[in-house]
């Protein structure tokens, strides 16, 4: 509860921040301090030092995993803002404080999504998360692409929310309750009693959640929106927002999937395979790095969906590690991309000659996304595959997964090739030492998790 209340308050504070100061730098610093306060507030609840608590009538339930997910997402947001602070100020004209307010509202949505215990709260959480995103997407007001992306996202998003609501209604019709309860198990056969309204509702819910995490065949909005949105905000959408979507997705279907019986595995496998296929294969043919990263984010969603296959602690660990590994690398890549003058692969030509450090860091981020050992991405993939195998998935699914992992190497390494092996002059803006240092911090985190992934989980169990 701490996180929800504190983030809302901070959002309101940021809204009125321009009364106190009009300097963008001061507003950014206030925002950063706010993030820290939020992190500490959540930590206080995690450790039980100080908890705001009142009876939510079972609408919300806080557990270790949810709070820990909050923790990781808040820290990732902090890193994101810390690195991209100056770029955020450049978007639009002087709305810095508003953007921070929006971030806090989104984080409020994130905290609801990690703790809901009721489908209505799921709906509210998703709305709190989505509406600020529509604004962020369109925040580059003079840019037509940004406006188009925003409108597209808004229309598609509302449509999917409609589907979500319909699904919730069906489930209410079947069970008479909005609560996430265990499905009814027949005591003699030990089989879950299937109810057509329940199944229909869950499948609608499944479709709408797939939309939120941009899994195929509900991914069509992703490339356009990610491409059209200002690059700094794409970074935020592709990482923290997506991760929150996954946590909610898993929370809903952890128990409810049993009501679908075997059908669940069929539809899930279908979505996984099509997401991997469309994401990876389309990414290969992209000419713009930004669009390639959009498809790569679809492809990575395919890997993250593996966490839905089983229902053990392995899956939770796997998705948390994957979220962290994926977000760190993606934030890093977008932070480099933001400094480029244009987003084609060619503009990276010869980067290794001119900025060896930057090229090395970019390579490291790409390695992590591709799952090369010694980076966090490797263990993320390892944990996912392990969870999948433990959950009893067929070996074919694992083989499909690694085949597409090899395809992903193809397009990630295209960038490495441009930087290291193609001569040319990179179209890049000035980069100062502080910025490089910030990227080094991300790289260090990736390497540390790549050698000791258990560091992350030490905090999960205590």
């Amino acid at each position: 509860m701490n996180a929800i209340i504190v983030s809302t308050l901070l959002g309101v504070v940021m809204m009125f921040c321009s009364w106190i100061t009009t300097s963008a730098k001061a507003q950014r610093n206030i925002g950063l301090v706010g993030m820290l306060i939020l992190i500490v507030a959540n930590l206080a609840q995690l450790k039980g030092w100080w908890v705001i608590d009142f009876d939510t009538k079972g609408m919300l339930a806080f557990n270790q995993i949810g709070l820990f997910a909050n923790m990781t997402l808040f820290i990732l947001t902090f890193l994101y803002v810390w690195i991209n602070g100056e770029e955020i100020e450049k978007v639009g004209n002087n709305h810095t404080a508003d953007y921070y307010a929006i971030f806090f509202f989104i984080l409020c949505g994130v905290s609801v999504l990690t703790s809901f215990d009721n489908l209505l709260m799921l709906f509210i959480g998703i709305e709190i998360l989505s509406i600020p995103l529509y604004i962020l997407t369109g925040s580059d007001k003079k840019n037509l692409l940004s406006n188009e992306a925003s409108l597209k996202y808004f229309l598609m998003g509302s449509f999917s929310t409609g589907i979500l609501l319909l699904g919730i209604t069906f489930i209410y019709g079947a069970t008479g309750s909005f609560h996430l309860t265990m499905p009814v198990v027949n005591p003699t056969t030990h089989m879950v009693t299937e109810h057509f309204l329940m199944s229909a509702g869950l499948i609608l819910l499944f479709a709408s959640m797939n939309f939120k995490v941009s899994a195929a065949p509900f991914h069509f909005w992703t490339p356009d929106v990610y491409d059209g949105a200002p690059t700094v905000f794409t970074s935020f959408m592709a990482t923290i927002v997506k991760a929150a979507g996954f946590i909610a997705f898993i929370k809903v279907f952890e128990t409810q999937r049993m009501a679908l019986g075997f059908t669940w595995y069929i539809i899930l496998s279908f979505v996984i395979v099509s997401t991997l296929l469309i994401g990876n294969i389309t990414a290969v043919f992209q000419r713009s790095v930004k669009r390639m990263l959009a498809y790569s984010s679809i492809a990575q969603a395919g890997f993250m969906l593996f966490a839905l296959y089983g229902n053990s602690i392995f899956n939770t660990e796997a998705i948390l590690l994957y979220i962290v590994a994926y977000s760190l690398a993606t934030i890093g890549l977008f932070a480099v991309l933001v400094k480029m003058k244009d987003y084609s692969f060619e503009s990276f030509n010869g980067l290794a000659k001119q900025h060896p450090v930057l090229a090395f860091l970019t390579t490291l981020f790409l390695f992590s996304l591709a799952g090369i050992p010694l980076t966090a991405g490797f263990f993320a993939k390892y944990y996912m595959l392990n969870a999948l195998l433990t959950a009893g998935a067929g070996l074919w699914l694992l083989i499909v997964a690694i085949l597409f992992a090899a395809v992903s190497v193809f397009y990630y390494f295209k960038l490495v090739q441009a930087m290291y092996f193609t001569p040319g002059t990179p179209a890049i803006n000035e980069i100062d030492k502080t910025y490089e240092f910030k990227l080094w911090v991300l790289a260090a985190l990736i390497l540390i998790l790549g050698v000791f992934p258990s560091m992350l989980f030490n905090y999960l169990y205590f």
């Binding site: 010694l374 595959l385 392990n386 690694i402 090899a406 258990s454």
Partner: protein, 473 residues
């Protein structure tokens, strides 16, 4: 503890080299690190060194376990000899950013040593990849004209193979009683015969691509041709041994029944590969491609001998792991010297080297004999034992594989004749003073060829314990 230090020598040298630009110091550090590693390797072989065992990923129960048995020792020796030899022989070559080049080479060496020492499957996987990534950069930056596409093919091919192996590792690991990646635990994993066969296939694909055996070999000749010669030497002398090492270290003990069940298929594939590569080698004009195909044929023979699961054959392959490395290294160094001095690798354009540089020609003849496995050379011992085992397995298979010896004589002697004898060609006329460094290295290698050819007992002694583990219950 010594094993860890041993592994860290090339890594520290590699890091140091990133900050040193002067060419002379670069060469000095490279050679010093190489020789220090060689001393370490000799220490490991001659004295008994304890295992290095530390907890690495407690949550997965993976251990940082380094251990050296006979199999590891012989490959460590090969790696430790190859790298200083390569550094000395190529020290006069012009290379841009030589410090980075050498640094990546040393990282490759560390990866290879790790592969040969790792006693834990996950650690093995780590080093397996660590050895690959520097090679990717080495070939893509310093390689030939088509380097980027060719190296990329090589990289994706091997990366895919290693991912298959990763699934195999997870499959076994999730069925072990004590959730551990150690060989001993994986060996007793509670898997059904069908699962065991699947895991066998997953591991085998990774090793088959790395060796490579037919039909997974398509990356190899291109990669060898396009890589800078120093890297080609590493690839063909040491790196292909990773695949064979994997078979002896992992496949044989972990999947005894699946190993025997698939022996026929694998041996037939290997023999097809041997003949196929030998016939193509006859048609080559480019020295580098000829040696590459010849290498495929030799590796195929070793693989076939391993899959006979016959003590004699495995012994032969263990010796040949070392001998083939030394021989092929010698041939590559000669090819490199010739290319550096004449600017061509085409055998048509060469000729009459014996008149310009008699020492080089004699060395070439020596290594050519070793490549054909004439008696008194080291390759004879290994090949004799391997053919012996193939004959026991099936005389027809042995006969088919035996044709490759004749073919090897044809293409190797043909090369010697065209390159070393005949009229002095225009290209050969360009040859200047002999490359003293390379010749010194070649002489040392040739001494090894003949000494181990006449008195191979030390090699038998080193590998005795591996054989014992594999064949004595």
């Amino acid at each position: 503890m010594f094993l860890l230090l041993f592994l860290l020598i090339p890594i520290f040298a590699a890091i140091a080299l990133l900050f040193i630009k002067k060419e002379q110091s670069v060469n000095l550090i490279a050679v010093a690190s190489g020789l220090l590693t060689l001393l370490g390797a000799l220490h490991i072989i001659l004295n008994k060194t304890g295992d290095f065992d530390a907890s690495w990923l407690p949550i997965l129960n993976s251990r940082f376990l380094l251990q050296a048995d006979g199999l590891s020792k012989i490959l460590i020796l090969l790696t430790a000899i190859s790298f200083p030899a390569i550094f000395i022989a190529t020290s006069n070559n012009q290379t841009n950013q030589k410090n980075v080049f050498v640094s990546l080479m040393l990282l490759t060496q560390a990866g290879l040593m790790g592969v040969f020492l790792a006693g834990d499957a996950l650690l093995f996987y780590f080093f397996w990849e660590l050895a690959l990534i520097p090679v990717y950069f080495l070939c893509s930056i310093w390689g030939g004209e088509k380097r980027i596409a060719v190296t990329f093919k090589f990289f994706i091919y091997t990366f895919l193979g290693s991912l298959f192996m990763l699934i195999g590792i997870i499959l076994l690991y999730s069925n072990t009683a004590d959730h551990s990646f150690l060989i001993a635990s994986l060996k007793h994993a509670n898997v059904s015969p069908a699962q065991s066969a699947t895991a066998f296939a997953l591991f085998f694909i990774a090793f088959a691509i790395k060796m490579p055996i037919f039909p997974f070999h398509t990356w190899q000749p291109d990669a060898y041709e396009q890589s800078p010669t120093a890297v080609t030497m590493v690839l063909s002398a040491v790196m292909v041994k990773m695949g064979l090492y994997g078979i002896i270290r992992w496949l044989m003990p972990l999947f005894p029944s699946a190993f025997l069940a698939h022996a026929n298929m694998v041996i037939v594939l290997s023999v097809i590969g041997i003949l196929y590569a030998s016939f193509i080698a006859i048609r080559q004009d480019d020295m580098k491609r000829l040696i590459a195909y010849s290498s495929i044929a030799h590796i195929g023979l070793m693989n076939a001998a391993l899959f006979t699961h016959n003590q004699v054959g495995v012994q032969g392959a263990l010796i040949q792991l070392f001998s083939h490395g030394v021989n092929v290294l010698g041939l590559w160094i000669i090819a490199d010297v010739i290319e550096q001095q004449t600017g061509t690798r085409s055998m048509k354009a060469l000729g009459g080297i014996s008149k310009k540089q008699p020492t080089l020609a004699i060395l070439l003849v020596g290594f050519a004999f070793a490549n054909i496995a004439l008696p008194l050379t080291n390759a004879f011992i290994g090949e004799f034992l391997m053919f012996n085992s193939l004959f026991q397995f099936n005389p027809w298979v042995a006969a088919a594989a035996g044709v490759s010896v004749v073919l090897a004589a044809i293409y190797t002697l043909n090369m010697v004749q065209k390159v070393a004898y005949g009229e002095v060609s225009e290209a050969t006329n360009l040859m200047t003073a002999p490359n003293k460094n390379a010749q010194g290295v070649l002489i040392v290698l040739l001494v090894i060829v003949f000494v181990t050819g006449v008195y191979p007992q030390p090699l038998f002694d080193v590998t005795a314990d591996t054989l014992k583990q594999l064949f004595v219950k």
